[in-house]
Amino acid sequence: MALVATAETTRKLDAHALRADFPIFEQRPHGKPLAFLDSAASSQKPRQVLDAMTTFYETSYANVHRGVYELAERATAGLEHARERVRAFLNAPDAREVIFVRNATEGINLVAYGWGLKNLGPGDLVVVTELEHHSNFVPWQYIAGKTGAELRMIPLDEHGELELSALDAIAREGNVKLVATGLVSNSLGTINPVSKLVEWAHEQGAIYVCDAAQGAPHTKIDVQALGVDFLAISGHKMCGPSGASALWGRTDLLLAMDPFLTGGHMINSVRLEKTTWGELPHKFEAGTAPMAEAVGLGAAIDYLEAIGLDAIEAHEHELAAYALGKLAEVPGIQLYGPPANRRAGIVSFNIEGIHPHDVAQILDMQGVAIRAGHHCCQPLMQKLGVAATNRASFYLYTIPEEIDQLVEGLHTVRKVFA
Protein backbone atom coordinates (compact mmCIF):
# COMPACT_ATOMS: atom_id res chain seq x y z
CA MET A 1 0.00 0.00 0.00
CA ALA A 2 1.47 3.32 -0.99
CA LEU A 3 1.32 6.25 1.34
CA VAL A 4 0.19 9.44 -0.32
CA ALA A 5 1.75 12.57 1.06
CA THR A 6 -0.65 15.51 1.14
CA ALA A 7 0.85 18.81 0.16
CA GLU A 8 1.02 21.40 2.90
CA THR A 9 -1.25 23.98 1.33
CA THR A 10 -2.20 25.93 4.43
CA ARG A 11 0.15 28.61 5.69
CA LYS A 12 0.80 28.63 9.41
CA LEU A 13 0.70 31.77 11.47
CA ASP A 14 2.86 32.63 14.46
CA ALA A 15 0.48 34.08 17.03
CA HIS A 16 3.28 34.85 19.49
CA ALA A 17 4.97 37.04 16.88
CA LEU A 18 1.73 38.68 15.72
CA ARG A 19 0.91 39.79 19.27
CA ALA A 20 3.69 42.37 18.99
CA ASP A 21 1.47 44.22 16.48
CA PHE A 22 -1.23 44.72 19.13
CA PRO A 23 -0.43 47.47 21.69
CA ILE A 24 -3.24 46.28 23.99
CA PHE A 25 -1.18 43.29 25.10
CA GLU A 26 1.46 45.54 26.66
CA GLN A 27 -0.64 45.89 29.82
CA ARG A 28 -0.80 43.57 32.81
CA PRO A 29 -4.30 43.62 34.37
CA HIS A 30 -4.21 42.66 38.07
CA GLY A 31 -0.48 42.04 37.66
CA LYS A 32 -1.12 39.17 35.25
CA PRO A 33 -0.60 38.89 31.50
CA LEU A 34 -3.77 39.85 29.63
CA ALA A 35 -5.58 36.74 28.41
CA PHE A 36 -8.07 38.33 26.02
CA LEU A 37 -10.60 35.65 25.16
CA ASP A 38 -13.47 37.83 23.95
CA SER A 39 -12.59 38.45 20.32
CA ALA A 40 -16.00 37.25 19.14
CA ALA A 41 -17.47 40.36 20.80
CA SER A 42 -14.84 42.61 19.27
CA SER A 43 -11.28 42.03 18.16
CA GLN A 44 -8.19 43.99 19.18
CA LYS A 45 -6.51 46.33 16.71
CA PRO A 46 -3.03 46.03 15.24
CA ARG A 47 -0.77 49.08 15.01
CA GLN A 48 -1.04 48.91 11.20
CA VAL A 49 -4.77 49.73 11.37
CA LEU A 50 -4.32 52.48 13.96
CA ASP A 51 -1.48 54.00 11.91
CA ALA A 52 -3.54 53.98 8.71
CA MET A 53 -6.29 55.98 10.41
CA THR A 54 -3.85 58.41 12.02
CA THR A 55 -2.13 59.00 8.69
CA PHE A 56 -5.48 59.61 7.03
CA TYR A 57 -6.42 62.17 9.67
CA GLU A 58 -3.01 63.84 9.56
CA THR A 59 -2.55 64.01 5.80
CA SER A 60 -5.75 63.39 3.84
CA TYR A 61 -8.71 64.47 5.93
CA ALA A 62 -11.63 66.42 4.51
CA ASN A 63 -15.23 65.53 3.78
CA VAL A 64 -15.55 63.14 0.87
CA HIS A 65 -17.45 63.41 -2.42
CA ARG A 66 -18.05 67.15 -2.05
CA GLY A 67 -14.99 69.38 -2.13
CA VAL A 68 -13.19 70.12 -5.36
CA TYR A 69 -9.88 70.80 -3.63
CA GLU A 70 -7.08 68.29 -3.56
CA LEU A 71 -7.47 67.33 0.08
CA ALA A 72 -11.11 66.36 -0.46
CA GLU A 73 -10.09 64.36 -3.50
CA ARG A 74 -7.48 62.51 -1.49
CA ALA A 75 -10.01 61.77 1.25
CA THR A 76 -12.49 60.48 -1.35
CA ALA A 77 -9.79 58.31 -2.89
CA GLY A 78 -9.03 56.89 0.56
CA LEU A 79 -12.67 55.98 1.17
CA GLU A 80 -13.16 54.50 -2.29
CA HIS A 81 -9.93 52.53 -2.01
CA ALA A 82 -11.31 51.01 1.20
CA ARG A 83 -14.53 50.14 -0.65
CA GLU A 84 -12.50 48.38 -3.32
CA ARG A 85 -10.61 46.45 -0.62
CA VAL A 86 -13.95 45.22 0.81
CA ARG A 87 -15.12 44.26 -2.67
CA ALA A 88 -11.99 42.18 -3.27
CA PHE A 89 -12.20 40.67 0.23
CA LEU A 90 -15.71 39.38 -0.54
CA ASN A 91 -15.00 38.71 -4.23
CA ALA A 92 -18.01 40.87 -5.09
CA PRO A 93 -18.50 41.66 -8.80
CA ASP A 94 -18.74 45.43 -8.35
CA ALA A 95 -17.57 47.93 -5.70
CA ARG A 96 -20.85 49.86 -6.11
CA GLU A 97 -22.56 46.95 -4.38
CA VAL A 98 -20.53 47.56 -1.21
CA ILE A 99 -22.32 49.87 1.23
CA PHE A 100 -20.58 51.22 4.29
CA VAL A 101 -22.66 50.94 7.44
CA ARG A 102 -21.89 51.39 11.15
CA ASN A 103 -22.13 47.70 11.99
CA ALA A 104 -23.56 44.44 10.67
CA THR A 105 -26.79 45.12 12.56
CA GLU A 106 -27.30 48.29 10.55
CA GLY A 107 -26.59 46.37 7.36
CA ILE A 108 -29.30 43.83 8.16
CA ASN A 109 -31.73 46.57 9.13
CA LEU A 110 -31.02 48.20 5.78
CA VAL A 111 -32.24 45.04 4.02
CA ALA A 112 -35.15 44.58 6.44
CA TYR A 113 -36.44 48.10 5.82
CA GLY A 114 -35.32 48.63 2.22
CA TRP A 115 -36.33 45.22 0.88
CA GLY A 116 -38.63 43.80 3.56
CA LEU A 117 -41.13 46.65 3.84
CA LYS A 118 -41.56 46.65 0.08
CA ASN A 119 -41.72 42.91 -0.57
CA LEU A 120 -43.24 41.18 2.47
CA GLY A 121 -46.91 40.78 3.33
CA PRO A 122 -49.51 38.45 4.85
CA GLY A 123 -48.99 34.79 3.90
CA ASP A 124 -45.23 35.33 3.46
CA LEU A 125 -42.65 33.59 5.63
CA VAL A 126 -39.35 34.94 6.87
CA VAL A 127 -37.11 32.04 7.92
CA VAL A 128 -34.33 32.45 10.48
CA THR A 129 -32.66 29.98 12.85
CA GLU A 130 -32.59 29.30 16.55
CA LEU A 131 -28.88 30.09 16.46
CA GLU A 132 -29.20 33.69 15.39
CA HIS A 133 -27.58 36.64 17.07
CA HIS A 134 -30.23 39.25 17.91
CA SER A 135 -28.78 41.28 15.00
CA ASN A 136 -30.24 38.77 12.56
CA PHE A 137 -33.37 37.94 14.54
CA VAL A 138 -34.91 41.09 15.95
CA PRO A 139 -34.97 43.06 12.64
CA TRP A 140 -36.85 40.18 10.96
CA GLN A 141 -39.26 39.72 13.83
CA TYR A 142 -39.93 43.46 13.74
CA ILE A 143 -40.37 43.76 9.97
CA ALA A 144 -42.52 40.60 9.86
CA GLY A 145 -44.72 42.18 12.51
CA LYS A 146 -44.98 45.39 10.52
CA THR A 147 -45.84 43.69 7.21
CA GLY A 148 -48.05 40.82 8.37
CA ALA A 149 -45.48 38.22 7.32
CA GLU A 150 -44.68 35.40 9.73
CA LEU A 151 -41.40 34.31 11.24
CA ARG A 152 -40.27 30.67 11.16
CA MET A 153 -37.24 29.13 12.84
CA ILE A 154 -34.95 26.37 11.59
CA PRO A 155 -34.41 24.27 14.74
CA LEU A 156 -31.11 22.96 16.14
CA ASP A 157 -30.05 19.41 16.86
CA GLU A 158 -28.26 18.30 20.02
CA HIS A 159 -24.84 19.37 18.66
CA GLY A 160 -26.09 22.90 18.07
CA GLU A 161 -26.20 22.38 14.32
CA LEU A 162 -29.14 23.25 12.04
CA GLU A 163 -31.72 20.56 11.39
CA LEU A 164 -32.12 20.90 7.66
CA SER A 165 -34.70 18.10 7.64
CA ALA A 166 -37.18 20.65 9.01
CA LEU A 167 -37.00 22.76 5.84
CA ASP A 168 -39.68 20.89 3.89
CA ALA A 169 -42.24 21.29 6.65
CA ILE A 170 -41.50 25.02 6.83
CA ALA A 171 -41.95 25.39 3.06
CA ARG A 172 -45.44 23.87 3.31
CA GLU A 173 -46.57 26.51 5.81
CA GLY A 174 -46.51 29.49 3.51
CA ASN A 175 -44.70 31.48 0.89
CA VAL A 176 -41.02 31.58 1.89
CA LYS A 177 -39.85 35.03 0.79
CA LEU A 178 -36.64 35.56 2.73
CA VAL A 179 -34.14 33.30 4.51
CA ALA A 180 -31.65 34.90 6.89
CA THR A 181 -28.94 32.99 8.74
CA GLY A 182 -25.53 33.54 10.18
CA LEU A 183 -22.41 32.09 8.61
CA VAL A 184 -20.86 31.25 11.98
CA SER A 185 -22.71 31.24 15.31
CA ASN A 186 -21.32 33.82 17.72
CA SER A 187 -22.40 31.70 20.64
CA LEU A 188 -21.56 28.09 19.79
CA GLY A 189 -19.12 28.61 16.94
CA THR A 190 -21.25 26.41 14.67
CA ILE A 191 -20.39 26.83 10.99
CA ASN A 192 -23.65 26.82 9.03
CA PRO A 193 -24.11 25.05 5.66
CA VAL A 194 -24.76 28.31 3.83
CA SER A 195 -24.61 26.92 0.29
CA LYS A 196 -27.36 24.40 1.08
CA LEU A 197 -29.50 27.09 2.68
CA VAL A 198 -29.00 29.40 -0.31
CA GLU A 199 -30.02 26.61 -2.67
CA TRP A 200 -33.15 25.90 -0.66
CA ALA A 201 -34.04 29.60 -0.40
CA HIS A 202 -33.73 30.06 -4.14
CA GLU A 203 -35.83 26.94 -4.82
CA GLN A 204 -38.58 28.63 -2.80
CA GLY A 205 -38.19 31.83 -4.82
CA ALA A 206 -36.83 33.54 -1.72
CA ILE A 207 -33.80 35.76 -1.25
CA TYR A 208 -31.05 34.76 1.16
CA VAL A 209 -29.42 37.19 3.61
CA CYS A 210 -26.18 36.17 5.32
CA ASP A 211 -25.00 37.64 8.62
CA ALA A 212 -21.26 37.10 8.24
CA ALA A 213 -20.26 39.23 11.25
CA GLN A 214 -18.78 36.18 12.94
CA GLY A 215 -17.67 34.43 9.75
CA ALA A 216 -15.73 37.13 7.92
CA PRO A 217 -12.93 37.45 10.52
CA HIS A 218 -12.16 33.76 10.35
CA THR A 219 -12.79 32.31 6.91
CA LYS A 220 -12.46 33.32 3.27
CA ILE A 221 -15.77 34.57 1.90
CA ASP A 222 -16.73 34.59 -1.76
CA VAL A 223 -20.22 36.01 -2.24
CA GLN A 224 -20.39 34.75 -5.81
CA ALA A 225 -19.42 31.19 -4.91
CA LEU A 226 -21.82 31.20 -1.94
CA GLY A 227 -24.62 32.53 -4.13
CA VAL A 228 -26.01 34.76 -1.38
CA ASP A 229 -28.13 37.83 -2.17
CA PHE A 230 -27.03 40.02 0.73
CA LEU A 231 -24.13 39.64 3.15
CA ALA A 232 -23.17 41.81 6.12
CA ILE A 233 -19.74 41.97 7.73
CA SER A 234 -18.62 43.62 10.94
CA GLY A 235 -15.39 45.61 10.69
CA HIS A 236 -14.58 45.74 14.39
CA LYS A 237 -14.62 41.95 14.70
CA MET A 238 -11.90 41.64 12.04
CA CYS A 239 -9.22 44.01 13.35
CA GLY A 240 -10.91 47.14 11.99
CA PRO A 241 -12.13 50.05 14.10
CA SER A 242 -15.67 50.29 15.47
CA GLY A 243 -18.09 52.27 13.32
CA ALA A 244 -17.19 50.95 9.85
CA SER A 245 -18.76 47.76 8.55
CA ALA A 246 -20.18 46.78 5.20
CA LEU A 247 -23.24 45.34 3.53
CA TRP A 248 -22.90 43.72 0.15
CA GLY A 249 -25.99 43.19 -2.01
CA ARG A 250 -26.80 42.17 -5.58
CA THR A 251 -27.11 45.15 -7.90
CA ASP A 252 -30.59 44.28 -9.21
CA LEU A 253 -31.96 43.98 -5.67
CA LEU A 254 -30.28 47.16 -4.45
CA LEU A 255 -31.60 49.12 -7.43
CA ALA A 256 -35.18 47.94 -6.85
CA MET A 257 -35.08 48.75 -3.12
CA ASP A 258 -36.15 51.87 -1.31
CA PRO A 259 -33.52 53.73 0.67
CA PHE A 260 -33.14 53.00 4.38
CA LEU A 261 -31.83 56.31 5.72
CA THR A 262 -32.45 59.53 3.83
CA GLY A 263 -30.76 62.91 3.90
CA GLY A 264 -27.54 64.38 2.59
CA HIS A 265 -25.36 62.71 -0.04
CA MET A 266 -27.83 59.96 -0.98
CA ILE A 267 -29.78 62.01 -3.49
CA ASN A 268 -29.70 62.66 -7.17
CA SER A 269 -31.80 65.81 -7.06
CA VAL A 270 -33.97 67.42 -4.45
CA ARG A 271 -37.00 69.45 -5.44
CA LEU A 272 -39.78 70.71 -3.22
CA GLU A 273 -42.20 68.23 -4.75
CA LYS A 274 -39.91 65.22 -5.16
CA THR A 275 -36.44 63.88 -4.42
CA THR A 276 -34.74 61.29 -6.59
CA TRP A 277 -32.22 58.86 -5.18
CA GLY A 278 -28.55 58.77 -5.95
CA GLU A 279 -26.67 56.03 -7.74
CA LEU A 280 -25.34 52.97 -5.94
CA PRO A 281 -23.85 52.88 -3.38
CA HIS A 282 -24.66 56.50 -2.44
CA LYS A 283 -28.42 55.85 -2.35
CA PHE A 284 -27.76 53.87 0.84
CA GLU A 285 -25.11 56.09 2.41
CA ALA A 286 -26.96 59.10 3.77
CA GLY A 287 -24.88 61.62 5.68
CA THR A 288 -21.14 61.82 6.15
CA ALA A 289 -19.51 58.40 5.93
CA PRO A 290 -17.23 56.97 8.65
CA MET A 291 -14.27 57.95 6.51
CA ALA A 292 -11.23 57.29 8.68
CA GLU A 293 -12.89 54.17 10.04
CA ALA A 294 -13.48 52.87 6.51
CA VAL A 295 -9.80 53.50 5.77
CA GLY A 296 -9.03 51.52 8.94
CA LEU A 297 -11.23 48.68 7.71
CA GLY A 298 -9.32 48.66 4.44
CA ALA A 299 -6.05 48.43 6.37
CA ALA A 300 -7.49 45.61 8.48
CA ILE A 301 -8.27 43.66 5.31
CA ASP A 302 -4.69 44.23 4.12
CA TYR A 303 -3.47 42.93 7.47
CA LEU A 304 -5.68 39.81 7.44
CA GLU A 305 -4.85 38.97 3.84
CA ALA A 306 -1.11 39.30 4.47
CA ILE A 307 -1.46 36.64 7.19
CA GLY A 308 -3.92 34.59 5.12
CA LEU A 309 -7.50 33.74 6.02
CA ASP A 310 -6.66 30.06 5.57
CA ALA A 311 -3.89 30.37 8.18
CA ILE A 312 -6.23 32.21 10.57
CA GLU A 313 -8.92 29.55 10.16
CA ALA A 314 -6.44 26.71 10.76
CA HIS A 315 -5.04 28.47 13.84
CA GLU A 316 -8.52 28.83 15.30
CA HIS A 317 -9.44 25.21 14.70
CA GLU A 318 -6.26 24.24 16.51
CA LEU A 319 -7.08 26.51 19.44
CA ALA A 320 -10.68 25.27 19.61
CA ALA A 321 -9.48 21.66 19.76
CA TYR A 322 -6.88 22.55 22.40
CA ALA A 323 -9.42 24.48 24.50
CA LEU A 324 -12.11 21.79 24.28
CA GLY A 325 -9.59 19.19 25.45
CA LYS A 326 -8.26 21.29 28.33
CA LEU A 327 -11.68 22.52 29.47
CA ALA A 328 -13.12 19.02 29.50
CA GLU A 329 -10.75 18.27 32.38
CA VAL A 330 -12.33 20.93 34.62
CA PRO A 331 -14.72 19.20 37.05
CA GLY A 332 -18.38 20.19 36.72
CA ILE A 333 -17.97 21.77 33.27
CA GLN A 334 -20.64 21.58 30.59
CA LEU A 335 -19.45 22.36 27.06
CA TYR A 336 -21.86 23.44 24.33
CA GLY A 337 -21.70 23.21 20.56
CA PRO A 338 -20.29 21.00 17.82
CA PRO A 339 -16.92 19.18 17.70
CA ALA A 340 -13.78 21.26 17.09
CA ASN A 341 -13.52 20.42 13.39
CA ARG A 342 -16.99 21.82 12.74
CA ARG A 343 -16.70 25.06 14.69
CA ALA A 344 -14.84 28.38 14.64
CA GLY A 345 -12.69 29.56 17.55
CA ILE A 346 -15.55 29.93 20.00
CA VAL A 347 -16.20 27.78 23.07
CA SER A 348 -19.28 28.20 25.29
CA PHE A 349 -19.51 26.47 28.66
CA ASN A 350 -21.01 26.48 32.12
CA ILE A 351 -19.57 25.43 35.46
CA GLU A 352 -22.11 23.54 37.51
CA GLY A 353 -23.66 25.67 40.24
CA ILE A 354 -21.79 28.87 39.39
CA HIS A 355 -23.41 31.64 37.39
CA PRO A 356 -21.37 32.84 34.38
CA HIS A 357 -21.25 36.36 35.78
CA ASP A 358 -19.47 35.10 38.85
CA VAL A 359 -17.15 32.95 36.77
CA ALA A 360 -16.23 35.92 34.56
CA GLN A 361 -15.72 38.21 37.53
CA ILE A 362 -13.28 35.89 39.28
CA LEU A 363 -11.49 35.23 35.98
CA ASP A 364 -11.15 38.98 35.46
CA MET A 365 -9.26 39.24 38.72
CA GLN A 366 -6.80 36.78 37.21
CA GLY A 367 -6.29 38.76 34.01
CA VAL A 368 -8.64 36.62 31.92
CA ALA A 369 -11.31 38.39 29.85
CA ILE A 370 -14.21 36.20 28.74
CA ARG A 371 -17.81 36.99 27.96
CA ALA A 372 -20.62 35.95 30.30
CA GLY A 373 -24.26 36.31 29.42
CA HIS A 374 -26.70 35.43 26.69
CA HIS A 375 -24.39 36.72 23.90
CA CYS A 376 -27.38 38.44 22.26
CA CYS A 377 -28.82 34.96 21.60
CA GLN A 378 -31.78 34.64 23.95
CA PRO A 379 -33.73 32.25 21.67
CA LEU A 380 -30.67 29.95 21.69
CA MET A 381 -30.25 30.20 25.48
CA GLN A 382 -33.91 29.19 25.81
CA LYS A 383 -33.23 26.17 23.65
CA LEU A 384 -30.19 25.20 25.75
CA GLY A 385 -32.33 25.68 28.86
CA VAL A 386 -29.90 28.14 30.45
CA ALA A 387 -30.06 31.87 31.19
CA ALA A 388 -26.48 32.45 30.24
CA THR A 389 -23.18 30.80 29.37
CA ASN A 390 -19.49 31.62 29.59
CA ARG A 391 -17.84 32.11 26.25
CA ALA A 392 -14.16 32.09 25.38
CA SER A 393 -13.35 33.14 21.83
CA PHE A 394 -10.09 33.22 19.95
CA TYR A 395 -8.44 35.10 17.12
CA LEU A 396 -5.24 35.23 15.17
CA TYR A 397 -3.33 36.66 18.16
CA THR A 398 -4.62 34.09 20.67
CA ILE A 399 -1.94 31.80 22.13
CA PRO A 400 -2.39 28.48 23.97
CA GLU A 401 -0.94 30.07 27.13
CA GLU A 402 -4.09 32.21 27.36
CA ILE A 403 -6.23 29.08 27.35
CA ASP A 404 -4.02 27.61 30.08
CA GLN A 405 -4.54 30.80 32.09
CA LEU A 406 -8.31 30.38 31.61
CA VAL A 407 -8.27 26.77 32.80
CA GLU A 408 -6.13 27.65 35.80
CA GLY A 409 -8.54 30.50 36.56
CA LEU A 410 -11.51 28.14 36.45
CA HIS A 411 -9.91 26.01 39.16
CA THR A 412 -9.72 29.14 41.34
CA VAL A 413 -13.39 29.91 40.57
CA ARG A 414 -14.34 26.46 41.84
CA LYS A 415 -12.29 26.98 45.00
CA VAL A 416 -14.03 30.30 45.78
CA PHE A 417 -17.43 28.64 45.42
CA ALA A 418 -16.45 25.34 47.08
Binding site: H355, P356, D358, A372, A388, V416
Partner: protein, 144 residues
Amino acid sequence: MSEFDQMYREVILDHYKNPRGHGVLDPADAEAEGQNPLCGDEVSIYVAFGEDGETIDEVKFSGRGCAISQAATSMLTEMVQGRTASDVAVLDKDELLEEIGIPLTPVRLKCAMLGLTTLKVALHKAKGTPLPEGLAGFDELELT
Protein backbone atom coordinates in the same frame (compact mmCIF):
# COMPACT_ATOMS: atom_id res chain seq x y z
CA MET B 1 -7.89 39.09 52.45
CA SER B 2 -7.55 38.12 48.79
CA GLU B 3 -9.34 39.99 46.02
CA PHE B 4 -11.75 37.10 45.58
CA ASP B 5 -12.69 37.00 49.24
CA GLN B 6 -13.43 40.72 49.21
CA MET B 7 -16.02 40.27 46.52
CA TYR B 8 -17.31 36.83 47.31
CA ARG B 9 -17.18 37.21 51.07
CA GLU B 10 -18.69 34.51 53.22
CA VAL B 11 -22.02 36.25 53.81
CA ILE B 12 -22.65 36.66 50.07
CA LEU B 13 -21.93 33.02 49.36
CA ASP B 14 -24.09 32.01 52.33
CA HIS B 15 -27.08 34.01 51.06
CA TYR B 16 -26.49 32.65 47.57
CA LYS B 17 -26.34 29.04 48.68
CA ASN B 18 -29.09 29.33 51.34
CA PRO B 19 -31.34 32.11 50.11
CA ARG B 20 -33.73 33.53 52.71
CA GLY B 21 -37.29 34.06 51.61
CA HIS B 22 -36.92 31.83 48.59
CA GLY B 23 -40.26 30.70 47.20
CA VAL B 24 -43.57 31.90 45.84
CA LEU B 25 -46.64 33.47 47.47
CA ASP B 26 -49.87 32.51 45.74
CA PRO B 27 -51.94 34.59 45.98
CA ALA B 28 -49.72 37.59 46.66
CA ASP B 29 -50.85 41.13 47.50
CA ALA B 30 -48.13 42.53 45.28
CA GLU B 31 -45.84 40.92 42.76
CA ALA B 32 -43.52 41.75 39.89
CA GLU B 33 -40.96 40.11 37.68
CA GLY B 34 -37.62 41.71 36.89
CA GLN B 35 -34.87 40.91 34.43
CA ASN B 36 -31.38 42.11 33.92
CA PRO B 37 -31.05 42.15 30.14
CA LEU B 38 -27.26 42.29 30.38
CA CYS B 39 -26.82 38.83 31.79
CA GLY B 40 -30.27 37.24 31.88
CA ASP B 41 -30.68 37.34 35.66
CA GLU B 42 -34.33 36.91 36.63
CA VAL B 43 -36.13 37.68 39.87
CA SER B 44 -39.84 37.46 40.75
CA ILE B 45 -40.92 39.08 44.00
CA TYR B 46 -44.08 38.33 45.98
CA VAL B 47 -45.34 40.45 48.88
CA ALA B 48 -48.04 39.82 51.49
CA PHE B 49 -49.20 42.80 53.57
CA GLY B 50 -50.32 42.69 57.18
CA GLU B 51 -53.81 43.58 58.38
CA ASP B 52 -53.19 47.30 57.95
CA GLY B 53 -52.61 46.66 54.23
CA GLU B 54 -49.40 48.69 54.43
CA THR B 55 -46.87 46.76 56.44
CA ILE B 56 -44.90 44.08 54.64
CA ASP B 57 -45.71 40.87 56.43
CA GLU B 58 -43.90 38.45 54.16
CA VAL B 59 -41.68 38.67 51.07
CA LYS B 60 -40.64 35.79 48.88
CA PHE B 61 -38.60 35.65 45.72
CA SER B 62 -37.88 33.16 42.99
CA GLY B 63 -35.55 33.34 40.04
CA ARG B 64 -32.11 32.51 38.86
CA GLY B 65 -28.98 34.46 38.34
CA CYS B 66 -25.50 35.22 39.56
CA ALA B 67 -24.42 35.09 43.19
CA ILE B 68 -24.60 38.88 43.54
CA SER B 69 -28.18 39.24 42.25
CA GLN B 70 -29.54 36.31 44.23
CA ALA B 71 -27.68 37.08 47.46
CA ALA B 72 -28.67 40.76 47.33
CA THR B 73 -32.34 39.83 46.87
CA SER B 74 -32.10 37.36 49.72
CA MET B 75 -30.66 40.07 51.97
CA LEU B 76 -33.37 42.45 50.81
CA THR B 77 -36.17 40.13 51.93
CA GLU B 78 -34.77 40.24 55.46
CA MET B 79 -34.28 43.98 55.33
CA VAL B 80 -37.83 44.98 54.33
CA GLN B 81 -39.75 42.62 56.61
CA GLY B 82 -42.05 44.66 58.86
CA ARG B 83 -41.55 47.92 56.99
CA THR B 84 -44.33 49.80 55.19
CA ALA B 85 -44.77 49.90 51.43
CA SER B 86 -44.28 53.67 51.30
CA ASP B 87 -41.09 53.36 53.34
CA VAL B 88 -39.63 50.63 51.12
CA ALA B 89 -40.64 52.49 47.94
CA VAL B 90 -38.08 55.17 48.81
CA LEU B 91 -35.52 52.84 50.37
CA ASP B 92 -32.14 54.20 49.41
CA LYS B 93 -29.99 51.85 47.38
CA ASP B 94 -27.05 52.66 49.62
CA GLU B 95 -28.82 50.99 52.51
CA LEU B 96 -28.82 47.72 50.58
CA LEU B 97 -25.30 48.28 49.26
CA GLU B 98 -24.06 48.75 52.81
CA GLU B 99 -25.58 45.44 53.75
CA ILE B 100 -24.00 43.74 50.74
CA GLY B 101 -20.75 45.35 51.80
CA ILE B 102 -18.55 44.66 48.79
CA PRO B 103 -17.11 46.88 46.05
CA LEU B 104 -19.21 46.56 42.89
CA THR B 105 -18.42 47.50 39.31
CA PRO B 106 -21.20 49.34 37.41
CA VAL B 107 -22.28 46.11 35.68
CA ARG B 108 -22.46 44.18 38.94
CA LEU B 109 -24.35 47.08 40.55
CA LYS B 110 -27.21 46.28 38.16
CA CYS B 111 -27.14 42.67 39.39
CA ALA B 112 -27.22 43.83 43.01
CA MET B 113 -30.13 46.23 42.45
CA LEU B 114 -32.35 43.82 40.49
CA GLY B 115 -34.28 42.62 43.55
CA LEU B 116 -34.83 46.08 45.00
CA THR B 117 -35.97 47.52 41.67
CA THR B 118 -38.38 44.62 41.16
CA LEU B 119 -39.77 44.98 44.68
CA LYS B 120 -40.38 48.69 44.12
CA VAL B 121 -42.20 47.91 40.86
CA ALA B 122 -44.37 45.36 42.71
CA LEU B 123 -45.25 47.96 45.38
CA HIS B 124 -45.94 50.55 42.70
CA LYS B 125 -48.38 48.24 40.93
CA ALA B 126 -50.20 47.32 44.14
CA LYS B 127 -50.08 50.58 46.06
CA GLY B 128 -49.22 53.30 43.59
CA THR B 129 -46.00 54.14 45.41
CA PRO B 130 -43.30 55.92 43.39
CA LEU B 131 -41.44 53.90 40.77
CA PRO B 132 -37.75 53.26 41.37
CA GLU B 133 -35.14 55.60 39.97
CA GLY B 134 -34.67 55.10 36.25
CA LEU B 135 -38.11 53.59 35.67
CA ALA B 136 -40.14 56.73 36.38
CA GLY B 137 -42.22 57.61 33.35
CA PHE B 138 -42.35 54.07 31.97
CA ASP B 139 -45.71 53.11 30.62
CA GLU B 140 -47.62 50.75 32.90
CA LEU B 141 -47.77 48.20 30.12
CA GLU B 142 -44.03 47.83 30.03
CA LEU B 143 -43.88 46.77 33.66
CA THR B 144 -44.67 43.09 33.99
